[in-house]
Symmetry: C2
Subunit: 176 residues, 2 copies
DNA sequence: TATTGTTATACTCTATAACTATA
DNA sequence: TATAGTTATAGAGTATAACAATA
């Protein structure tokens, strides 16, 4: 994925010419798309403490059933110490609570509050709009084709890396 | 881009069910792809000092004609102080040189060495292979379709964000 | 006085390892 | 002794600002 000049074979004052056009390069397209994606999701999740990782955690709490923090950390693919920090912030914002577990007093059961569920629903909504916006002016059919192909590629890559399917796509944001 | 259960309407012990399947979600696919992309490029560029940003810089030096460090920084979208550090490492590795500019003794003209050009060529080669590997088992026709659609989307997004076309796709790595 | 490049300072993340309270 | 959660420490990375040398 080299850097590119605007034109294919532009020659500038004796310098070597660019070998590829922007239009032909997958890496460039992927880069632009992913960059836009990261920027947009970052902006959209600004009101969730911890940003993308906070969202991911909140999402897991709401959807994957509350469990211990350790189980939560593993499901989301974060270190347990990081989870502590993130939960602190999410709890301070009133989006979830740590409840005592009567069975094992070492563990804390993490439960989302109504406010947390509401915030999550809003975030989900915005994220869906972001996705639609990213695809932009593609027609319905093309859009569907792109989604399908990306899905195929992603499913295969996912199988290779052996990640937990419970994790969300935004997980990449953390660079974990 | 919510987190997902494996099944669409799996209900676990009274918890709310997951609302979407993995297969349908663009965000998830983009996340997986992005993660794989970053991992692969990171690995492939490990022998370039500064990693992806070092590569980007080296690439700009070789292809966009050597200029002042400031011009270089702007072309690549990095802070000039970071460029200083990166150039230090690239120069120490013998991939480029800082030459005095007879016209303006404040500026340094950055020029790639033969070793630098060779290293860049290798990196470009590997990056292309990475791209092909990412698309993996898509057929030739599908692969072409995906590239074309991504290209369309990317060109449009690119126009919206007003980035310099000289920048490479890997720029996303820096999270700039 | 403005500009190029460098160096220094501070701040944010992250990762590792200690610590506590239970079991 | 082992585990869940927390807190403390250290390191990398980044950003901001001060600095030296030219113009």
């Amino acid at each position: 994925m080299p850097a590119y000049d605007l034109e294919v074979a532009q020659t500038v004052s004796g310098c070597p010419t660019a070998s590829s056009a922007v239009q032909d390069d997958l890496g460039w397209a992927l880069g632009v798309l992913l960059r836009s994606y990261l920027r947009a999701t970052d902006r959209v999740l600004a009101d969730v403490p911890g940003g993308a990782r906070g969202y991911r955690l909140l999402s897991a709490v709401v959807r994957d059933c509350p469990g211990s923090q350790l189980a939560l950390a593993q499901a989301v693919g974060l270190d347990r110490t990081v989870v502590t920090y993130l939960l602190d912030d999410l709890a301070a914002a009133g989006l979830l609570e740590r409840q005592a577990d009567p069975a094992d007093r070492r563990t804390r059961r993490v439960v989302a509050t109504p406010a947390g569920r509401a915030r999550l629903a809003e975030s989900d909504d915005r994220l869906r709009r972001v996705e639609q916006h990213l695809l932009g002016d593609l027609g319905a059919e093309e859009s569907e084709t792109l989604r399908r192909l990306l899905q195929r590629v992603a499913v295969r890559l996912h199988g290779q890396t052996g990640e937990s399917l419970t994790c969300t796509g935004i997980e990449a944001l953390a660079g974990s």
